[in-house]
Each structure stands twice: as C-alpha cells, then as structure tokens.
Amino acid sequence: MPLQGKILYDWPNAEIEEPLILSALGQLGTEPYDVTIVGAGVVGCAIAYDLSQYQLRVLLVEKMYDVGEGTSKGNSAIIATGFDATGGSLESQLVTQASRRWPELAHKLKIPFKQSGALLLAVDDEQEGKLEEIHDKSFTNGVDDVRIVNAAEAKRLEPNASSKVRGGLLIPRESIADPFTTSIAFAEVAMANGVDILLGAHIVGLQNCQSTVKNLVTESGYRIATRLIVNAAGLGGRDLADLYRGAPFDINPRRGQFLIFDKSSHSIVRRILVPLPTAQTKGVLIIPTIFGNLMAGPTAEDLPLGSPEATSTTAEGLRWMLSNASGLCPCLPKQPVIGTYAGERCNCKQGSYLIRYNDGYPGILTIAGIRSTGLTSAIALAEYVTEGLGEECDLSLDRDPDALDSRPDGCWPGWWRKPIDDTKLVKKNPDYADMVCFCEQISRGEIIDALDSMLKPRTLDALKRRTRVSMGRCQGFECRIRVAKIVSEHCDIPLDSTTQKGPGSELVAPTHEAIYG
C-alpha cells in the first residue's frame, strides 16, 4: 500500500491541532511535486483521484477550508445522462461516458446514488409537438433508453403532476447523488494513495514558469515546487490563469437558486420532473434529493465575476421558481420550505469544457467552463486530462499496482449508515444512540467519526456536508450550539473559535467578551 498523503491547513493562528497546520514547507517534503492541482472542487478532486492511480507525487491545493466547498456544493445534484446536450461536443461525450459509469463509481466510492429517472413533461400542444424532437436528440447523444409516454401514463408515473400534462419523455437513467460526498470520496481515495492535500491556501503568485520546476506562491508566502500545474480553480480560474498569462477566456458565473422542501414532501414526486425548455430558460426542475427532501430550481442569472451576490438568494428568484414549479406540480406551493440556497455555475463565455495544455508556459493545463454537468462528468474528464497530460506534457504514466480505486472501509461511513439501527454497534459505542441532530437523526458518535475521518474536517460546514447535522427542517435551532461544543471538545478548539467555514466565520464575533466575570 502506498504511503498515505498528508492533510494540511494553511491557516495561521488556527486553534486546530498543530500537526494539521502548515507551518513549514518541509511538511510537504523536499522533492518537487510532479503535478499540483489548484482547486479541490469535484473536478480537481477527481483529477487527484485519477492521478493517484499512477506513480506520481501529487498535491491538491484549495483556497477554502474543505474540499468541494464552492460550485461543487451548490448544484442540483443530478447525475445527468446528457440526453439534451448539444451533440458532438466534448461535454456531451464526457457526460454520456461518465453517466454510464456512475452506478459502478458510486458503489466503489460509497457515494449515495439513485437512478430515480426523470420525466420531461409537456403541458400544452406546442410542447407536446417538441417531444419527438428531444426523443431523437437523445438517441443521437447515445441515450437510447428514453421513451415517449402519453398523458395517461405520465399521470400514472407521477400522480401529483399537473392535470395539464399532455405527455412526456421518460429518461430512466437520469439519477441523483450526494454532491458533497462525491468530492470527499475522490479526495479520500487520492489521499489514501499518497496525494497530499493543502486546504486554505490561496495561490497568488507563480515563479520560474519557464523552467521544468515551477513555483506556486501561496498568500501566506509558501513556495510550492511542482513540475506540472493543473488549473481546476473554477471561478478562480481566470485569476490564476492571469498569473501565467494563459490564453483568453472569460468566466461568466451564472447563479442558480434552489428551494428545499421538507422530507414530508418527498413522496410527492418519484422522478426528477423536467419542464420543456423554452427559448428563454431551461425552466425549473422538481428534484427528489438523495437525502429524502425535495428541491425546486434552479434560476439562471448572469452575474459579474466576483460579485458578492453570487451565492445570495433573492425574494424575486424564489417567487419565480415557486410559481414555475407549480406549473408542473400544483401542490408544491403548499409544501413547507425548509431551506434555500444559491450556487454559481462556472460558465465560460468562450464555450464549455475549455481544455488547454501548455497554456502560457509548457507544463500548465487550464480547465475552464465546467458547468453544471461537472458533477456527472468529473470522472471521465479526469481520465481525459490525465491521458492528455501524458501526451502533451510528457507526464510519465506508470500505473501504481498498489493504488486503491475504491474508498477504503476505514473511511467515514457517511450519514446514510444510521449506526443507531445496529444494536451491536450501539452497545459498543453508546454515542451512536446519543442523538444530536433531531431532524436528520445524527448521533454524537457519527459526528466524532466524521471529525476523525481522513480529511479531518474542522469547520462546521464541512461537518455538515459529511453528517448532515443541522441540514434538517429546524436548520440548527436545536443542535447548532451542541454540535459546536462537540467540535470544540473533541478537537480542542475553544468554543468561541469554532468557525462555520474557516477564518472570518467564527461562531462568536471577535469583539465578544465573557460575561458574568
């Protein structure tokens, strides 16, 4: 078995355990890395996973304080078949390829995944006429198991769909997955295979671009030596590309807002309900989630890059989604909404799935414009660029015979395992029956397991994505402080220094003081 990689936080003055804090470059070893991937979103993590199958020294660097923290967490969680993709593009090719592999991938990486199927619904004559066209397009895209259904069958498949439905297109393999676990699982296997992971490190400089060994400079001044650089920085990709004068591309983030309904609404739909796209919009989908909730969304709003509004919801957006979604499912507006969120799709003006080898300088790879399909395609994209790095950048690809391609059993078991149902486990560790999050029914034992898991999550949001604590209907009313206390006790972080998502998001305002003496 290869030596397990390191997890380090570039988080000066953090109150977390010392071995997790990057305090000297020596912690990352003395040899330069063969490849450094900048950006630990789902794409960066998948590339790290794929490169970890070879005998290479790889580093995964991330600006934020967990993997999968940006675009990769705020999406629709759909594993697309690509039935409606623009045929012939690299995007459609990778999505189709990846979608067929997902059931196996999910099994190997222990990612919650379900082939829920999707139903495209036509609600008037004009839309009904278009079904045939989309049906044919699906076949051209290699999705040959779609089927047109009449109004009666659509109604039978989805009894709560609008009575206006004239017919639909059934896409049986369209699926849903846990988007958070996807990035985490890729990163964990990569780390088990020896990939080092550095969180909280914002790359602000690049030196010795011309030479074989280049240096990436982090905001806190560390110089990381590496032969190849993969820019998978998503929304930060342009800023990074400017450092090496990469060829022009413009990132044009598109905000997507979502509504989350309570678990009590879950049985309303069985499949993903998809409206027929119009010239203006792809429309609002109704999506059952793998967690047992129901979602409606997204919006599609173009915002300038770097806008602080990019992950902000708006009353107008939420109203628009609800009224649109009620067109497909009229009982939806009566259902209780428990949460809302907004994410940014990483759109690129020059087209999607922009991949450039030796961009600016030899040995630099730019990946940009990975839009909402990135969650599905990441695995295929990773293999595609690994091969490309071999051909274009002379990366020697020797398989590591000892590398794992599945998630080790010792990894964090995940929110779905429900240890409370296992009497033996509970007897061994009563913490599994000590319920902390009442809505999602997550125990103290599971929280501690997550904190001790490979990637050593140290922020409340990172913990939330692994365990689902405070993701439920009460949104932390009951458990927020108790969870913070468990983190504080278990990791020896003072309660007032626990953070939601890294420095600047302390649970307690910096000016606070202890009261009552």
Binding site: L259, K263, S264, P308, T311, S312, T313, T314, A315, G317, L318, P333, K334, Q335, P336, V337, I338, G339, T340, Y341, I420, T423, V426, K427, P430, D431, A433, D434, M435, F438, C439, Q441, L460, R473, C474, Q475, G476, F477, E478, R480, I481, L495, D496, T499, Q500, K501, G502, P503, G504, S505, E506, L507, V508, A509, T511, H512, E513, A514, I515, Y516
Partner: protein, 329 residues
C-alpha cells in the same frame, strides 16, 4: 431526583400513556394523569433535564426574567418555574426518560420509536399518546421574506440564551433581530443586559407584534431601534453576517442576525407518522376534545400553535389530561 437519574428505561414495551416532551405542557399532563392513578405514565424528553425551553432561562446576576410566570403573584424566571414543576413531578410515580429522542411515531398502532444511549432504539406502545413537543422559531428560509447569503452568526433566540446563560459567552456585539413578538423582544433584552450594544429590530409588520404590556415590560431592559414594513430583507456577508439590506438604498450593518420568535409547531414527526397536519401552516387537526386525527392521540401546549407562556402550557397539559382520562375510561 433518583427516578430521573436511573432513568428507568425499563425495556418497557407498553405504557398506559406516553407523553412526548417534558416541557411545562408535558409535565402538566403527566402530573395530572399520575394523580388520577393512571400508571405507568412514561414522560420522554430528548434533553438531559426536564423543563423544556423555560429551563434554558437561568436566574443569573443581571439576567432578565423573561419567560416569566406569575404563579401565586410571584414573578419567576424560567429555571425557577421549572424547579416547581420538577418538585410536583417528583411526588408522582411518572417514569421520566431523559436523553431519549422519539425518532418515529406510528399513528395507527399508537406506538413510538425511541432512541437513547441507554437502550439504543426501542419501540413503546400505549393506550394513549400525548404530543407535547412544543414549537421552534421559524428559520430564515421558512419566513419567506428573508433571503441572501448564508454566513456564520445567524442565531435563533434560543442560541442566545444557550450562549449567554449556559456558556457565559456573549457571542455578538451589534445584532439585528428579525421578528417582533415577545420572543424577539426577549432576545433584545437578553443582549442588552449581557452588554451588547443597542439592537435593531425589523419585521414585515408596520408595528411590533408584541402587545402594549409586553412592550412596556421589555422597555425596562432594552429599546431596540425599530424598522417596520420591510418587504424583503437580504442578508449580506460571506464569512459572517455583515449587514442586512432592507431596501434598494439601505443596508443596516451588524455582526450577527437573530431570527426571533414567529414560532412554528413541531409537528413534522406527527405528519410523517400518519397524523393529519394542515399545510402549509403545519397545525395539527385537533377536535374539541383535544383529540388528533387518530384515536388515542392528543396534543398539549405550544405544539397546538401560537405562543403561550410556561404556565399556560402547564395548565393546558392538565386540561388535556382530562380528555385523556375520558379516552382511557
């Protein structure tokens, strides 16, 4: 007290009456039933102590006596009121199961599934079940008019009590409080007494929801700056809360947001368990005899909707106990 600590999680599979929630309403029902000779009565709560929300309001130097009850003409802090309830409970032979979470209910079979450290997961059935699960404060998304980003330091009033009274930490210095009922006002009072600056209060209403007497009472502790008739409030800040945008031109700055009051009954378990719940209000279907949609199920206290003080919930629990007795007879 002994009864409490040994928790008597007796592996019981059947009880005469199960009461879910050991707040004032649950204790009221339990005490009344036990006094009438009903046994065994099992009172289940997920916390490590009885008393529910009022137990969070500690009597501390400078603390505000919010959640007051005027029992026999005396003003009591939540903690003191709960001590009285505990004493009454101790005189009965009610089985109190603490740190036990009801994870599922099964309306048709009058059965609940309980999870606890002591016993793991177990099923208990009963001849009657009283739901006294109380209510919680409506979250940002549930309010519908609060949008924006999701930074750190968005608290509920309950979190303030937990921080300030239980952990001796004042987590904020300048807060915006959303909502204007007496719970929201108690958040303002708690902050002001603990030493935070003047709070800002905003709501969709033109005038605060709190009645005149409550307002007069809270004025003694704090006078939050009022912004009414807000159409949409948008939370600003990426790491932690930095402000709230209340109109195209106006952004109020703060270091935290308190989502106060606007209580919503904890009826989700009931809904998932097969009892009738009205949507989207989430109110239980309750008939005049305090019965729910399935025979043998009852509800007491704030789970019935609205916001009632500790004593009124206690009295409601006692009243519901009479309906339970009729059912058992």
């Amino acid at each position: 007290m002994d009864k409490r600590t040994n928790m008597n999680l007796s592996g019981r599979k059947h009880a005469r009456v199960i009461i879910v929630g050991a707040g004032p309403a649950g204790i009221g029902a339990a005490v009344a039933l036990a006094r009438k000779g009903v046994r065994p009565v099992v009172l289940i709560d997920r916390a490590s102590n009885v008393g529910g929300i009022p137990a969070l309001c500690r009597k501390k130097p400078g603390a505000v006596p919010t959640f007051v009850s005027w029992l026999h003409g005396r003003a009591l802090v939540g903690e003191q009121f709960v001590a009285g309830l505990e004493a009454r409970l101790a005189e009965t032979d009610v089985e109190v199961w603490l740190e036990s979470l009801v994870v599922e209910i099964h309306a048709g079979e009058r059965r609940v599934t309980v999870a606890s450290r002591a016993k793991g997961k177990m099923d208990v059935s009963a001849d009657a079940v009283v739901l006294a699960c109380g209510s919680r404060e409506r979250s940002v998304a549930e309010r519908g008019w609060l949008t924006g980003s999701r930074p750190a330091r968005i608290f509920f009033t309950k979190h303030l009590f937990d921080f300030i009274d239980v952990n001796d930490i004042l987590p904020v210095s300048r807060s915006i409080i959303v909502g204007s009922d007496s719970v929201a006002y108690s958040a303002a009072a708690k902050l002001s007494v603990a030493g935070a600056g003047q709070s800002i209060m905003l709501d969709r209403r033109r005038r605060p929801q709190c009645n005149v007497f409550q307002k007069l009472y809270f004025k003694f502790w704090s006078r939050p700056k009022w912004h009414g008739s807000i159409q949409e409030a948008q939370v600003k800040g990426l790491g932690s809360v930095e402000g709230v945008k209340i109109s195209d031109k106006k952004v109020l700055t703060c270091d935290s947001l308190v989502v106060g009051g606007d209580l919503i009954p904890n009826t989700e378990l009931a809904l998932l368990g097969g009892l009738e719940v009205r949507l989207p209000s989430r109110l239980l279907e309750i008939n005049s005899a305090n019965r729910l949609s399935s025979p043998g199920w009852f509800a007491a206290g704030n789970i019935r909707g609205g916001f009632h003080g500790a004593q009124s919930c206690y009295l409601n629990g006692k009243k519901v106990a009479r309906s339970v007795l009729k059912h058992l007879a």
